[in-house]
Symmetry: D2
Subunit: 141 residues, 4 copies
């Protein structure tokens, strides 16, 4: 069951105001039935000692992209928790824009498998991953 536009806006607002998204400067720009989209600008504060984005930044982006792809399809109020994720880092992420995208591979009754990726400003693949998520039913009203 998909959300209406105002429910999607509430979902994005909830996540865009959380601590981690603000700390790293990450923003979800879409989370609907077709998947999720994120934006982040890689800045000096995201870099490890070799001058490229730390794995934590990319893993956080891919994790979030998968999670919001799941929530974008779920009834309003339903949550999800990452059980595990695996990510390949295929190219260094230099300072500049990154786009993250997530989509659902398989929806089970209690578990969902999703995939996510990050691409740089030229569309080059930087990281790609999959994850297993546990659904958290919306509290009964």
């Amino acid at each position: 069951m998909s959300k209406d536009a105002s429910a999607e806006a509430r979902l994005r607002e909830t996540w865009n105001s959380c601590g981690y998204y603000n700390l790293v400067g990450m923003e979800v720009t879409r989370a609907d039935e077709s998947g999720s989209e994120f934006r982040i600008e890689v800045l000096p504060e995201h870099l490890q000692a070799y001058g490229t984005a730390h794995g934590g930044i990319l893993a956080g982006l891919v994790d979030a992209a998968m999670g919001l792809a799941i929530l974008g399809r779920a009834p309003e109020g339903e949550g999800c928790a990452t059980v595990e994720m695996k990510i390949n880092f295929v190219a260094p992420a230099l300072p500049g824009p990154l786009v993250g995208r997530g989509s659902v591979l398989h929806e089970g009754r209690r578990m969902v498998v999703a995939q996510g990726e990050a691409r740089d400003g030229e569309g080059r693949l930087v990281a790609v991953g999959t994850g297993t998520f546990q659904r958290i039913p919306a509290p009964a009203s």
Copy 2:
């Protein structure tokens, strides 16, 4: 070949001064032949919308713990890059201290496999993972 104490101190200083470690407040406290140890205090700025540490924080900690375990055993000047990592999130990380630890599972000539974990202040396992890393030889002097 292990490092002497001053080489280990230089390694820790290099990483503890990088952008990402400072942004998230993460510190490597040991990186020697036996593995690595990290500390971070989970703060409101690390949280996702459900009030627990975002996966990016835990993934960054485990990735770093594995990478520094590898560098702690490598000749000075050698680097490493994360090819891929997989992490299981087994308990929510609430605000408070976390300890990360990494160790090497297999050292190949070009690739190293490591494992890492994060535990909370009571020693409870929060996240556990493995990763594949590519060695980056020290530049010839």
Copy 3:
């Protein structure tokens, strides 16, 4: 650089005659630039104690599908070795036909990341995974 049809036929023949493929009754039916396709019939000898295909059968199918997708794009004589793979088992595989498919996500100079999946006779997703592979250059002639 793609292969001509006879090189693709040689590639399929080489693999379809190896011990493991024969033991489990798995066959590669396509391995070209667009990816790979496999067939296997799940039989009683593939089952674990609960009556569904053992994870080893599905993992072997997905591993092979990824590896042959890589070889289907590589110059003749080039090989590849699985560095790691991760697979989600999303539905039980009951006795009957399975189709495996693989494709390349990222081709690096020394490493390739691929994805693979297995679907049952109704097209239902049974397993999905990603893997990291190391290229093995063709021996110089």
Copy 4:
């Protein structure tokens, strides 16, 4: 809650008589509170085109070692299903004996995380992995 010796023997017998174990010649020799142990002899029928054991054989061994480590600790009649597994192949497995071992990393109420490995006759690490498993409660009697 651990099993008594006869319950452990029944567990081993159940699995050692399943189709897949017999097809590949794999045997569980221990499955108790401390973990599991398996034996397999790599034979020509297990090999891929390069003359080493196919990934499916190693993945099946590691998957089984993790699963039986979980069942070795569970009440009799409880089952488990692999949600996902990730395995690093760190050395080629040549024809000869392999030992598989599994142990539990984290036991949750519904999910368990385990690790497994395979070593050759000289004790050299060949493959190492982790997996997420779902508990299947014993049918009420």
